[in-house]
Symmetry: D2
Subunit: 339 residues, 4 copies
């Protein structure tokens, strides 16, 4: 049960609400976000929610039976749009393509990528400065200095930055240089990190776990929301299956299902979703056709020389062609009446 | 190694070829199909294939290192087109939508479905008369009598029939009433059935196994081809994964990968691929966007009353809308330069 | 609902029963096996089963809510024991080890294997004469002639034969030479084959599908039972998972769960279950410790030269050691109070 | 390549080694643990390792081609034994059972559990004070105060404590009250946490990820080892599969395979491994039979009232019986010649 409070609810009104919930044996959690205050009530007893909905100080009340509450579309039917400023928006009809290398490698690479993005009309650049790697002996990223350098060039070019944060201690260092925090698949259930990102007023893109369920993804988002941050995006990036013909199994089904279950924007990552360069375009187009609000993809001037993920990274020519087709596909979807 | 023989190869020329293969310790299998004769050579020794390619009686020779040979695109680059007659073609640019109920239930249902299909310009009707069911106590189909009845009406309406064959003994009974034999997911590695269908001159649509790999699907097709039948289509219908939010995980990745690996047409089954009616349209459109040559989907006048699979079956209104969108999507793909 | 009929039920009594079931809107299926006659009633209405249980001609009645009925332990608490004659029994306390090569290859190999088995006190020999192979170009077995030869030697040595049947047409040819029909993982849902084996009075060992669920395995067994054959064993042989460090994932959990859900004997196949020779012993012992009634394993005089599955086949020394340990483990389980 | 350095290697000798590695284009990482100093060399060029092995200051050198190095048995054949003090050891022949509740709930519960453990001769108690929960609205543990209370009673009773650490910030607070740090399945690839635990001189038990591969588990252990902590144990706790008849699929195969690939002790968690109370004993016994060095299991005075995981938690009677059987099984394994 979600009870949305009025901005000017009095202490007395709030106390009465809490009494009421105690009376029906509901556990209640207070949630304050950038946009509103809520009480989440969790309990078993069936009762007429109007008895609370009509109390003073209450703006709205919704019954939500899912394990996740605030991210559910049962409560908020209208889709969330994330506004990054400078007219860069994601969700609720606003489409974006985020592109860039797996790892930020050098000043030269940053500049080259930015040129490619600007030339193709993109507004958001992806890249990793903290890299989760299976082996401790692999390249682990340029760290905060790489991010600062990148930020300088991105800002000049009017590009927004999305990059992965791996631990709570990094948040403060990164926050001034980041437009969207990315939570990687391996941290999809790192609940302390989710808690911490819930206390920050920057958008978060949450990747589905390596073999996470749709329900777990939504509950992970609930961690962020219930800590105070409503600006969340969800990313389908392929799941682990038995098939060995490619890297991950892009779960195309997850896209329409997420769009139905939550009001949050849904992003598709075709690069990790199939993991093979020559097929990235097909699944990217399929993902947008299935309803994704944005695409995040890996691009490099010379994929063969990339420090990581080269085999799934597009070169500029492939990327340019795909961007054009993606934009046309978004327009086509609207033409045939899909929203 | 695939050696394509000339139609008029002499016995002497053929003997010389076999000697040659014995000399390099290659096992050879003779394959005769509707269209040509081949020798499949399997062995380990590396050698210059031109030594055979230039022999008399040999039309062509290709090295194919995959476990499957004749269905590989390494041998036959041009895509196969299946011609069902009456200008109904699948593959190599020809797109089809096959629709109909999970089970053929009654004369009335047949007629109603046919009206819906004809009205929407479809040419192929799907339906089951032999139904594989998990439980022995479930409805198992109307059998051959149902097929004959269906065939009568389909023929009058100019519709082609695709239906599942479950065992070799059924082939002879069914053959006059069927345009495409379907092999179901549970029989995807029923090798005797595949052998038998290889000896029949009717197209076969082979569904991927419940958790079959792409490689197993191609090898199953190789069974049919190597027994003499080149007219094969492959169907992606969702695989089994850990996710419980839907019935099967449509493997969208499989579509571009199959198109790359084989010259055979690739069909997408969105009904089984997600298993939830309201999402069938999204994944159908995604499948076509990813490159599928055809769609096979379940339609029923009243899905709630269908004998089987009702929860994933479209009603006529949903079906009509989807057919229109699918056709537009096929045209759109060509517009943006995809083939 | 399972209604067990008395042997001498009269036609009138039977009619009355059917009327009763119709009155409560239950679909009924008559099942006659080697041992008894049953009516399986399937319906939704709740009612007092004593109203039927006390009718004349009825021996017993049980409510079974599972999708499978006759194989459920909710009906038959006592474990089934399969008696192969000559004091060779499986289940309900009787333990067996079935060993032999993946494929029957030659007279010499048959004799060598038999010597090894007899020397180690085994009573059942496994081996394939019809081999399901992913590729049509692989060795597919010696066929019926191989079986006849094998049978001659096995009979002389007092060994029972278990071998795979792949299609209904083979049953008649094989029946005189086989003691247990094996249904392979790829045919686990070949319902026509299951139907046919239900009409035969020989025990059947049913392998779990490549990625079959426990529930599907039990429903497959229900096919056999409901067609008239009560003598069924179930085999856990590993499932398909994402892990690539071995061939299949032996589902050790399935053993105690099957033992709880069904009265049928449960067999473990460690050879396919892990697929790597050096680890077969560990998982075989684990399987017996978890409650398996028998072990089926691959043994070859020279695994490196085996026509198939060599990498998971034990040599005679490994096999001898394992047989001894397995027998001791069975005794140890009883010592510590496990049944 | 692992180069073990002599304790008293001189700076000059060390420089010469580094020059040598640079000369063959190998990347080198220095690792200093509680027990020794190592250089890990990663490169592609083949060369004769004796050229380095015979240099001054070098104690030993091994070629290790796996992605993981220091945890590989290719380097260290002898099994690692973890010594917790007070004669509590794990691995290399020393067997332990760790038992306790999923969550530490109250003083009373701590005392009751300790009584049960002491009575049954156990030396290590498990329990969670920081609980990773899918939903933010679930009970998340008593935190550090709960741990301190628990530690007081455990110390009095001579019990060692194993408990989960979820983030690096918790390590300092916890370190004086913990004997083994547990890394949970959801943090199996939280590389920053692994780095931090590598800098601590307390043993770590690393759980396999929800759907982690064996290789990923070993590489995660390599993170800890290469940061300086050699005292690591690995825990098989079930993987995610398609089967719905239980919670997780205990991967019994992983036990002998891990024992082969690494010198680290291998623990089995039957509680999470199957997730159903009545089957925990079967899979625990199977796990030990397959070679596990220890068992970790959930026990509660009244599982029905446990704050979490009640459905897979044993009561004291079940636990007592299982402990006795596990101990007998360990002895039995030795009797039949398994090590």
């Amino acid at each position: 049960m979600i009870i949305q409070l009025e901005k000017n609810i009095t202490e007395q009104q709030f106390s009465r609400l809490q009494e009421k919930l105690r009376a029906i044996n509901y556990k209640s959690v207070k949630v304050s976000t950038q946009f509103s205050d809520y009480i989440i009530g969790v309990g078993k007893k069936e009762f007429d929610i109007r008895a609370i909905g009509t109390m003073e100080g209450i703006s709205d009340i919704h019954r939500v039976s899912d394990a996740y509450k605030l991210v559910s579309r049962k409560w908020k039917v209208k889709q969330t749009q994330i506004d990054l400023g400078d007219d860069v928006k994601i969700g609720d009809g606003a489409f974006q393509i985020m592109a860039g290398p797996c790892s930020i490698e050098s000043e030269e690479q940053i500049q080259s990528t930015i040129n490619h993005l600007v030339k193709n009309g993109l507004r958001i650049m992806r890249g990793g400065v903290y890299k989760p790697r299976s082996s401790p002996y692999s390249f682990r990223g340029l760290g905060i200095e790489g991010l600062k350098l990148w930020h300088k060039y991105a800002q000049e070019a009017g590009l927004k930055i999305i990059t992965e944060v791996m631990m709570t201690e990094q948040i403060d260092d990164m926050i001034d240089y980041v437009d969207i925090f990315q939570v990687g698949a391996r941290n999809a259930q790192n609940f302390n990190l989710l808690d911490a990102l819930g206390k920050v007023d920057k958008p978060v893109m949450l990747k589905r776990g390596i073999s996470g369920t749709i329900d777990e993804l939504l509950q992970a988002a609930e961690y962020i929301f219930s800590n105070g941050n409503e600006r969340i995006m969800l990313c389908e990036r392929g799941i682990r299956s038995y098939e060995k013909a490619y890297r991950n199994t892009l779960d195309i089904n997850a896209i329409p299902i997420l769009k139905e279950k939550t009001h949050l924007p849904v992003i598709v990552d075709p690069s990790h979703g199939i993991g093979v360069r020559k097929f990235v375009d097909s699944v990217a187009l399929a993902g947008v056709m299935a309803g994704a609000d944005a695409v995040i993809m890996e691009v490099h001037e010379c994929p063969e020389k990339a420090f990581s993920d080269g085999q799934q990274t597009l070169d500029y020519e492939q990327s340019g062609t795909l961007i054009e087709r993606l934009n046309k596909t978004v327009a086509f979807r609207k033409e045939i009446g899909l929203c």
